[in-house]
Amino acid sequence: MIDSENLDPNFKFLIASEPGGENIKKCFSCGTCTAGCPVREVTDRYNPRRIIRMAILGMKKEVLSSPFIWLCSSCYTCYERCPQDVRIPELMNAIKNIAVREGYLPPAMKIQLDLLSSHGRLLEVTDFENEKRKESGLPLLQAKTEDAKKILDRVGDRREK
């Protein structure tokens, strides 16, 4: 049961002010996104129409803390089909960005962030990988780059201010 006492009517405005979330209020819940969603096809834990409805209603905590927002595979099928141009994958992305700022960073994403920060890539390049590349006649890669860390640090610092 939804208790209106616990709703945050400003949540939709917060999302709309986030890059990618601008068109949330245009959603009229037709369900085109959900009907063609390949994730929804294999699990009922992900339902974009439901998530958008919850967000518009103001169910801020339920949306931000739930793992379901992280199940969008970003295939952009709904993006192409939405009659209201809600741009759902970008909208989900905006919600995820807000969720991270509110402290809901999933462990899997933390791992990816740490890898990027340490190596500048998702997959580490060690001597082993470069040796394999050399054997295959492929050019070698820099083992790591500090630049990704510098970028993440800079963005992180600014957020804390």
Binding site: P19, G20, P38, V39, E41, V42, T43, Y46, P67, W70, L71, C72, S73, S74, C75, Y76, T77, Y79, E80, R87, P89, M92, N93, A94, K96, N97, V100, L105, P106, A108, M109, I111, Q112, L113, L116, G120, R121, L122, L123, E124, V125, E129, K132, R133, S136, G137, L138, P139, L140, L141, Q142, T145, D147, A148, K150, I151, L152, R154, V155, R159
Partner: protein, 306 residues
């Protein structure tokens, strides 16, 4: 015995030293997955490019395209993408990606930086203070398959086919980020009815088959968050492809390859079905003698095929 068929096209083209178009020089952007997990794809792409007279320059300093951090911090993603675009701009050549997610991510960032002057200024302020770089928006981003598409138009792929592939039934898997979102790719291709990969398969003489859910996502995007969901998504497609008795699947993204090739065994185990073992054999991904390569001078092991 079934034929071996590679993800790339090295097995079906021969040497062609003639005409090097002045526009076919690119900086090759490998991203994270290709140079570590999809060497066969990289080797194939490089060999095919060489034979078609497409020249690649490498830059060992490229980092991740930024796609994985878009969901955590969109601006950090744009900065990381802009860093790679800035590196490419120093060389002045268009950027060719092998990974569809990298292509989508860099194209989207490029598109935004080019059209939004204020964003461009903000990004350049950060890039120059943080890394001493600037990106002016002068780079074109493309996918290797788009380059091949151009070569098909010039009829240069078909004329180089040596082996007879007419009996081969091939399932094209477009994946997502190669064609969508259409707002960043312009009118390159109809996202609901793409043709380029089918045309590429047909240009080799093979049959490009229709199958259910042909445009469906591989599930790779949720692999890190929920493996079972991702594997279930891949399994569905493998089942549909198998129902059409395909001999092979053609992929143009290393992450789709992680799902369909790398995770096949896992899908088999999770689903308690043996059908994928047969499917694997039929696609020839397993180590079997390779008839299709018989009259071509490329050794399949050289193309990174296992």
């Amino acid at each position: 015995m079934r034929r071996k068929f590679s993800i790339g096209w090295v097995t079906v083209v021969k040497n062609s030293p003639e005409d090097h178009s002045p526009h076919s020089h690119y900086t090759l952007y490998l991203g994270c997955t290709v140079p570590v997990r999809a060497l066969n794809y990289e080797i194939s792409a490089r060999k095919v490019a060489e034979k078609l007279g497409v020249q690649f320059s490498d830059n060992p300093d490229f980092s991740c395209c930024g796609y994985p951090i878009k969901s955590v911090n969109r601006y950090a993603y744009l900065l990381l993408a802009a860093r790679n675009l800035a590196l490419a701009e120093q060389k002045g050549l268009p950027l060719c990606t092998l990974c569809s997610a990298c292509c989508g991510s860099l194209t989207e960032a490029n598109h935004e930086i080019q059209k939004d002057e204020e964003l461009r200024r903000r990004i350049n302020d950060d890039l120059s203070e943080c890394l001493g770089m600037r990106y002016e928006g002068g780079i074109r981003v493309t996918h290797f398959t788009r380059i091949l598409q151009e070569e098909i138009r010039k009829k240069r792929v078909a004329e180089q086919i040596q082996a007879d592939l007419s009996e081969l039934r091939v399932a094209a898997h477009y994946g997502c980020h190669y064609i969508k979102p259409s707002t960043i790719y312009g009118k390159t291709e109809n996202p609901e009815d793409p043709k380029s990969l089918d045309e590429l398969i047909q240009a080799t003489g093979a049959q490009s088959i229709y199958y259910e859910d042909k445009l469906q996502c591989c599930g790779g995007g949720v692999l890190a968050m929920d493996e079972q969901v991702a594997l279930a998504m891949s399994q569905r497609k493998l089942e549909h492809i198998r129902a059409e008795q395909a001999d092979a699947m053609v992929l143009i993204c290393p992450f789709c390859s992680v799902m369909y090739e790398g995770n096949q065994r896992k899908i088999e185990k999770a689903s308690q079905k043996e059908f994928l073992r047969n499917f694997t054999r039929r696609t020839g991904i397993e180590d079997e003698p390779c008839e299709a390569n018989g009259d071509v001078k490329e050794d399949p092991s050289e193309a990174g095929l296992r």
